[in-house]
């Protein structure tokens, strides 16, 4: 049994941590969030230079030969800084799909852009009616000669306003919720018939409603096949869960540190409020929620490359844990800060809001309880 990190992983953590400290303090973060574009291309370029965008990929693909644990380390530190740059959709979700399932030609055409920081990707899979069921797909992909024609709308596609490429789930055959017949397509955002309605989200990120109207793609835009599309997608979403679990650890840790610090210094009734036992116990509960979340996050990231059944159960279990813990820690951090916790000026509320969105992202507690039970 060994829960220690390798030397490389520790170096990686230190590097990301100091990068975030030096370049992504709360004020800088809010400047980026409030800017026209809502992300910083400069920061993204630095991610590339630091090798973060190459970290999880194999050496054959030009990467640094890391894996889920390296992503976990990176995401945790990005979480501490509430970083909005699209590491999750570009590297973890889309990069992950490409590296595991794309043909060598597709990899050659697309991965260098991701590793080099030249292209940003978004995973367009949820639909207005689909809620958390990735197999509920109405967007259609009709075979047309060698290629396909896509029609449909994808909902709340994270990072889509910044992306130049999408991976889109679309139905090649079968009924609305059939598990078979879903294909994953690489689509250029600039392709004719693709349109987006962009908006900010409550956690300081950006998303879009993406509409495909008779978008023609070639046959080699399809990743895998119609038979494997859904399982490739579900695997990617589980990797996404492993990553946002880690991200949420960064949030919870930051909130717990900030709350303990605040309660030590904030005085009411002539004493630090941290001297009230009821608040001490609350902070102990917050700490325990965090520790349990750390455990589940390690667990899921160690099991992402196991068999499908084990992976699903691990991912759903971890997602339930961080959904509940994140909610508790976020709410209580605000509560213990009193009126200050309600202000836009303090980072506390922003961590709380990101944790709130994470609870829904890739399926909420109820969804994953059910999935856990049936896995």
């Amino acid at each position: 049994m060994d829960f220690s990190f390798t030397e490389e992983q520790t170096l990686l953590r230190n590097m990301v941590q100091s990068f975030v400290q030096d370049n992504y303090d709360f004020d800088s973060r809010m400047k980026i969030v409030r800017s026209e574009e809502g992300m910083s291309r400069e920061i993204w370029g630095q991610f590339a230079e630091l090798g973060l965008l190459a970290a999880p990929f194999s050496e054959e693909l030009g990467g640094l030969d890391g894996g889920p644990i390296d992503i976990m380390v990176i995401m945790e530190e990005l979480g501490r800084g509430l970083v909005v740059e699209p590491y999750l959709p570009t590297v973890v979700l889309c990069g992950g799909i490409l590296s595991r399932h794309a043909s060598p030609a597709q990899q050659e055409a697309n991965l260098p852009g991701i590793l080099g920081g030249e292209s940003i990707w978004a995973l367009a899979y949820s639909e207005p009616q689909s809620r958390f069921n990735a197999s509920d797909v109405l967007t259609s992909a009709k075979a047309d000669g060698e290629g396909y024609v896509l029609n449909g709308t994808k909902a709340v596609v994270a990072a889509a306003p910044w992306a130049d490429k999408f991976i889109v789930s679309a139905r090649i055959s079968g009924e609305q919720r059939d598990r078979n017949g879903i294909g994953l397509f690489i689509v250029d955002k600039s392709a004719a018939g693709v349109s987006t309605q962009d908006y900010p989200t409550v956690d300081g990120n950006r998303a879009s409603e993406v509409t495909f109207e008779n978008v023609a793609v070639s046959g080699d835009a399809l990743i895998g096949s119609a038979e494997t599309g859904l399982s490739i997608l579900e695997e990617a979403l589980d990797h996404g869960i492993g990553a946002i679990c880690a991200e949420s650890l960064g949030h919870m840790k930051s909130l717990n540190d900030a709350t303990v610090e605040y309660c030590k210094t904030r005085k009411q009734f002539g004493v630090p409020i941290g001297s009230f036992q009821v608040l001490q116990h609350r902070m102990v509960d917050m700490f325990m929620e965090y520790e349990q979340s750390v455990s589940m996050t390690y667990m899921v990231n160690m099991k992402l490359n196991e068999g499908e059944e084990e992976r699903k159960k691990a991912a759903s279990g971890a997602k339930v844990q961080i959904g509940k813990s994140g909610r508790f820690v976020g709410q209580e951090a605000v509560q213990l800060h009193g009126g200050m916790g309600m202000t836009e000026e303090l980072s506390v509320g922003h961590y709380f809001k990101r944790l709130t969105v994470i609870d829904t992202q890739f399926g909420n507690v109820d969804h994953h309880l059910k999935r856990f039970a049936s896995a």
Binding site: R131, Q197, P200, V202, E209, F269, V334, Q335, D366
Partner: protein, 395 residues
Amino acid sequence: MDVDFTSEDQAFRAEVRKFIEDNYPKHLIGADRGDLSKEDFLAWHKILAEKGWVAPSWPEEFGGTGWSVTQKYIWNEESAAFGTIPPLPFGVAMLGPVIYTFGNQAQKDWVLPGIKSGDTWWCQGYSEPGAGSDLAGLKTRAVRDGDDYIVNGHKIWTTLAQHADWMFCLVRTGTEGKPQAGISFLLIDMKTPGITVRPIITIDGGHEVNEVFLEDVRVPAEHLVGEEDKGWTIAKFLLGNERSGIAGVARSKKAIDRLREIARGELEDGAPLLDSSDFSRKISELEIDLTALEYTELRTLASESKGQGPGPESSILKIKGTEIQQRITELTMEAVGNYASPWVPQLDRGDNYLSIGPDHAEGVSQTYFNTRKTSIYGGSNEIQRNIIAKMVLGL
């Protein structure tokens, strides 16, 4: 024991319901508090003022309605069921009772009519950066200078001060003895030189609270309510009134109806979310909690109508009421799934703003974020538990 309404009560219910339906401003039906202009806030207030129904809880001699406890309850229920924007609490619920209880004749004569008509907008200047839960720790100083007080200090979290004409304010006039001893209750004209109001934006993006800076603000001594240094009794009297209305049972009922409606419209695997046993069970739990609170409130009202004032038990109403409100907003956000994420700008929405997803999803997360305030203000829920522990359980 009997909780049925009499036929007179039923007739009263029909009357007030009809009045609301006939007179409530159409453009404010379903309006969201975050979007309201000053005029919007006051529109219904002014209609009620005309009718003489703006302050049902006041004694009749000062303009109350003379309704029984049951009738007031019915009025609140009907108002909430329709979803009216209630008169702002600062004048009607908070300051009014202070003035007719502690004020002199001159103060009654000018303050009460302005509250009723809605012509004077009041804000509450209690909290300070260093004095939140420990209100008696307040430091804003008022020093007597001839016929005036000169006030210096810093108030914070002052709700809707950006619209206020006047502020009722706790100030320190004495520094001897216990901190509660040297506090006075002062009425301050917000147009007086030396007052600066600075907005605080909350995590939902709204501008609801402010900081108020007072720098050498000259306040005529006639605006002192009660005696100098005796303001703490008044301050606490007011907080007692603030808490009693806070259960919000009728409004929570309405919010649960809306939640159910939303869950009926949301789909999970093609079926209404409301049909999912996981989700409907959570709504049921909430509804049962609310029923318990409703009966607890009715029991409190019943003893009130026998002349017993609201005791420390009203802290139960505050804690449970706000926990239920928070849970409703949480489940409403959960119901809309992915469409809880889009951010709805509250300030500077602009003309080309397009809403994302179904209408019923708009702003639900922001309402959830905003509602976190309810366990913080009005005496935090921790402070309420302290009150019950001490005053009820004798710990």
